[in-house]
């Protein structure tokens, strides 16, 4: 039980309570352990993003309990939640969400700005390190709008891991990318997971999901399937194969 990082019980989320009520999540319970690489699947509107946002403490459930590292999230203050998002979590979005007309470096530095233990110099070093680790050594000073989609998503991943998070949440990280670039991104995730970072990813692409270790399928706000992937595909091999074609 020590290893349980995320533990939600009977979580529901209702948007627009009243007449046009939408029950995005309906009594969802789920446990995620250290070292896992979880995919959330399901058709559009099934509640994947809503669940991911709640797990990432970006949104609060209407009812149910969420224990993060054994601590009740609803009892944590707003500023403490900000701190958790900053130090424990990294976020990757489908649309990258980079600051326009700003260098890759500055984008990656962003989470460090809210971590006062870093000096300007340390901030820069950390950000450069993160960019190198996602293979963007020669794109550090490029403005984000000068980069390709895959490169932009790698900047976003660098930003997510710069603060050395425990968990990375990714909402359709390959949704805007072609399959070859998707494999590159997945390779990064597999490497990070290898290093012990817990990854929770939303995706509706079956071949992408096959690269994770666990697949949870949602339908109408309920978990209908939760299975372990016994032999996850290796993203690097897939990339090499695609590259040689």
């Amino acid at each position: 039980m020590e290893d349980c990082v995320i533990d939600i019980k009977n979580i529901s989320k209702v948007f627009n309570p009243g007449e046009n009520e939408v029950r995005a999540l309906n009594d969802v319970s789920l446990k995620i352990y250290k070292g896992e690489f979880v995919s959330l699947m399901g058709s559009s509107g099934s509640g994947k993003s809503t669940l991911l946002n709640i797990l990432g403490c970006l949104d609060q459930p209407t009812s149910g309990t969420y224990l993060l590292d054994g601590q009740e999230v609803s009892g944590i203050s707003k500023s403490e939640i900000s701190l958790i998002r900053n130090r424990k979590f990294g976020f990757v979005f489908q649309s990258y969400n980079l600051l326009p007309k700003t260098s890759a470096l500055e984008n990656v530095e962003l989470p460090l700005l809210y971590n006062s233990q870093y000096s300007i110099k340390a901030r820069r070093e950390k950000a450069e390190e993160a960019l190198v680790s996602v293979g963007l050594k020669d794109r550090i000073f490029h403005k984000t709008n000068e980069l390709s989609g895959g490169q932009q998503q790698r900047v976003a991943i660098a930003r997510a891991l710069v603060n050395e998070p425990k968990v990375i949440f990714a909402d359709e990280p390959t949704g805007n990318l072609d399959s070859k670039t998707s494999y590159q991104v997945m390779e990064l995730f597999q490497n990070l997971n290898e290093k012990g970072i817990l990854i929770v990813m939303v995706s509706h692409e079956p071949d992408i999901v096959e690269m994770s270790k666990r697949k949870i399928i949602l339908h109408d706000g309920k978990i209908i399937e939760d299975i372990e992937i016994l032999n996850p595909k290796n993203a690097h091999e897939l990339f090499v194969a695609a590259d040689s074609k």
Partner: protein
């Protein structure tokens, strides 16, 4: 996030929208410039008027016939036969605070020397009259008798008169001029006094009191009594003493109402100061309204900025920016805009004040306190009008903000 980071990010954001920021600042610039300019000009005017009144002698106390002006007495008060020369002696003896005293009679007269002539104000007074009214001798000397008992026909003339009658004012001393056909020997020429409240203070001839009273005017009474104390802080006491002497000893009352009134230069200075102060305040208040309008402009543009950068705010919140840091970021941005506007405004106000000052021929002084005030006000405007947009930014829901198009 450190304050230096926030400041840098604010400066960058302002720099990215340079022309828009400048237009936003315009309201503050105009507001601050007019506050600074108005206060400087107001101060300049106050100083110059006070200076002019000061030339007349700040310790001057005037006793005049007639009741308080408020009662609206319609007769020519100067000619009411209330004040006598003996009153002067009584006041001097009974008022310990009064050091200098002189009866005053005055008239407008024709002065002739050879073929030149002049139309000066002729005043008769004791030798103290010069001390009371701050007249200084430039050439020659003052009367040798304190009260002018022996009806000497001598006089001291002002610069304007000297220039009207003589080629060179130095030559005036010792010359005989005619005042209303009566010959007077010039014994002194006064230092220049300049314009005082729009009147030429040098177009004057001062002669011994009795000579003017008896020879020139043929009067038995006098027009005014001028007195002065040694120090300014004795003026109030002296006024009270004179009032007491006039009322209780000399019995200058009729039907319970005093037949005289006492005015002091200090009083006039105070009134002048109050009026000018109010005027300055009014002008500054009007300028302050433009500061307010400038503030509303800042609020408007900050709201636009927050809307434009909603996704960025969402992202910052998502990566762990505490909402109070977001608040501070936008607050600092509006304060920086406002302060830059304030600084430009101060410089512009300074320029306006010196141009206005030289146009109006006075020294318009920009005081450090008004600069400080302008600076403080622009800071305040930035905080007050930046707060609402900044709070709006800080209260954004990160998910909705990230979805914003």
């Amino acid at each position: 996030m450190k304050v230096s980071d926030l400041l840098l990010s604010a400066l960058r954001s302002i720099n990215r929208n340079r022309s828009r920021s400048l237009l936003t600042m315009l309201g503050i610039i105009i507001g601050v410039a007019s506050v600074i300019g108005m206060l400087a000009l107001g101060n300049g005017a106050t100083q110059s008027i006070k200076g002019e009144l000061g030339k007349l002698g700040t310790n001057l106390i005037m006793v005049m016939p007639g009741a308080d002006q408020q009662r609206g007495v319609s007769t020519d008060l100067a000619n009411v036969e209330i004040l006598k020369e003996s009153d002067v002696k009584a006041i001097l003896n009974l008022s310990p605070s009064v050091t200098y005293i002189s009866p005053v009679v005055s008239t407008k007269s024709q002065a002739v020397f050879g073929s030149n002539n002049s139309r000066p104000n002729v005043t008769g007074g004791y030798r103290d009259y010069f001390f009371i009214n701050n007249y200084e001798i430039k050439y020659g000397q003052l009367f040798d008798e304190r009260t002018g008992k022996s009806l000497q026909k001598v006089c001291v003339i002002g610069k304007t008169v000297a220039e009207d009658l003589f080629e060179n004012e130095k030559d005036a001393v010792g010359k005989i001029i005619r005042l209303d056909k009566i010959p007077f020997r010039i014994i002194g020429v006064l230092e220049e006094k300049g314009q005082t409240m729009g009147m030429d203070g040098d177009n004057i001839i001062i002669a011994p009191f009795r000579t003017v009273q008896k020879r020139l005017l043929g009067l038995t009474y006098l027009h005014q009594i001028h007195a002065a104390t040694e120090n300014e802080d004795e003026v109030d006491a002296a006024v009270a003493e004179i009032d007491d002497v006039m009322t209780n000893y000399l019995k200058k009352v009729s039907g319970g109402e005093p037949q005289f009134r006492i005015a002091t230069q200090k009083e006039m200075l105070d009134v002048m100061g109050t009026v000018l102060g109010l005027l300055t305040l009014l002008l500054a208040a009007i300028a302050g309204i433009s500061l307010l309008v400038g503030g509303i402009g800042i609020m408007n543009i900050m709201l636009v900025t927050v809307t434009e950068r909603t996704r960025e705010i969402g992202l910052r919140l998502a990566v762990g920016a505490p909402s109070n840091v977001i608040l501070l970021q936008f607050l600092i941005e509006s304060v920086v805009i406002s302060l830059i506007g304030g600084i430009i405004g101060i410089m512009l106000g300074y320029t306006l004040a010196s141009i206005g000052g030289s146009l109006m021929d006075m020294t318009a002084e920009v005081t450090p306190s008004s600069v400080l005030m302008a600076f403080g006000f622009s800071f305040l405007v930035g905080v007050l009008f930046g707060f609402f947009p900044a709070r709006k930014a800080a209260r954004l829901n990160p998910i909705q903000a990230l979805r914003h198009e």
